[in-house]
Symmetry: C2
Subunit: 193 residues, 2 copies
């Protein structure tokens, strides 16, 4: 018996950033070898093939982002303040123009939703998990009486996801940071109204 030398999470995070920077199609196995430090044989042994590595990386990304969201909201007693901080965090990522701070779920959705049914199913489920987490947030905000209007938490969660996807796409045109912050503020207003 002998166990693998590499740390799977570490390898998946390295693959994640490689895919974020170049997209799936343009990331070569050579890129992945350089990013992960693994030789082709090891990658194929652990993940079947390039696509298997992507799918595993997508799941790792989703876990990491879920944890991050939970941590962020646990730091704010007011759910509404947590939401503001969350949006500010997303805006900051957009403004940074750092390819490693893109949303891999969104990138993959745009690149392969129409081409790979299995990837699409994984991504749809991840989107549903995200939506449920945000839905719970809006339920807490409602309980704390910080919501006007009559929209359901689910509606608001969907609206917020749409807005964040849009914000991240819009950011690729490099608008001024203040514009991005204003857009974020307006989204917060609209979604809590």
């Amino acid at each position: 018996m002998r166990s693998a030398e590499f740390d799977k999470e570490q390898v998946l995070r390295a693959a994640m950033t490689a895919f974020m920077e170049k997209g799936y199609a343009k990331t070569s196995m050579q890129d992945l070898k350089a990013a992960t430090g693994l030789h082709p044989g090891s990658i194929y042994c652990a993940f079947q093939n390039k696509r298997g590595l992507l799918l595993a990386a997508l799941e790792q990304y989703n876990r990491d982002r879920g944890d991050e969201l939970q941590t962020l909201f646990s730091q704010h007693p007011s759910a509404r303040a947590g939401l503001a901080a969350y949006l500010a965090h997303v805006v900051a990522e957009c403004v940074s123009c750092d390819p490693q701070k893109l949303c891999l779920t969104q990138k993959a959705l745009n690149e392969l939703a129409e081409q790979d049914a299995e990837a699409q199913a994984i991504l749809s489920e991840q989107c549903a998990m995200w939506r449920n987490a945000l839905c719970a947030v809006f339920e807490r905000i409602a309980e704390q009486g910080e919501l006007t209007g009559t929209r359901s938490p689910l509606d608001r969660a969907r609206g917020l996801i749409v807005s964040i996807y849009g914000l991240r796409t819009f950011a690729h045109t490099h608008p001024e940071p203040q514009v991005m912050r204003d857009l974020g503020a307006q989204i917060l207003k609209d979604v809590c109204q």
Copy 2:
């Protein structure tokens, strides 16, 4: 002297749909040959290379979409009604799940904004043109007294673009058509408020 046999607009529209379906990286010259009916030599003679064909296709797409928007709004005396029709049109495209009804600008923005500065510049300018067109729409809606609130037309135009980008990304997870229509209706409300 001899003029080219092919119709440039027709070729560019064929290339557009090829790039929409597979993305830039995964569309091979063989795909483009099949889609356009042009042999490699002719493509290279007319557009330099694969990337040149993409850039030309992006510009054609932008022209076509600009014309489409103008036509749609010219059919509605009420600018507000035109906006509602425009959003309904976008939602219908999202619901159709037809890869040929994606937004090529958005697809390219997501795939190559970080990798190709020239493409990014073209796409940013196209986004600015779109924003200006929508800004003019909001000015007309304001003149017609159908706007509440104090947001500037420019703010609203940016917000609408963000929402449409988001809607199109969200659509890749195949939500129910009614959900998409509800999201469209909410966007219309928020942006005119």
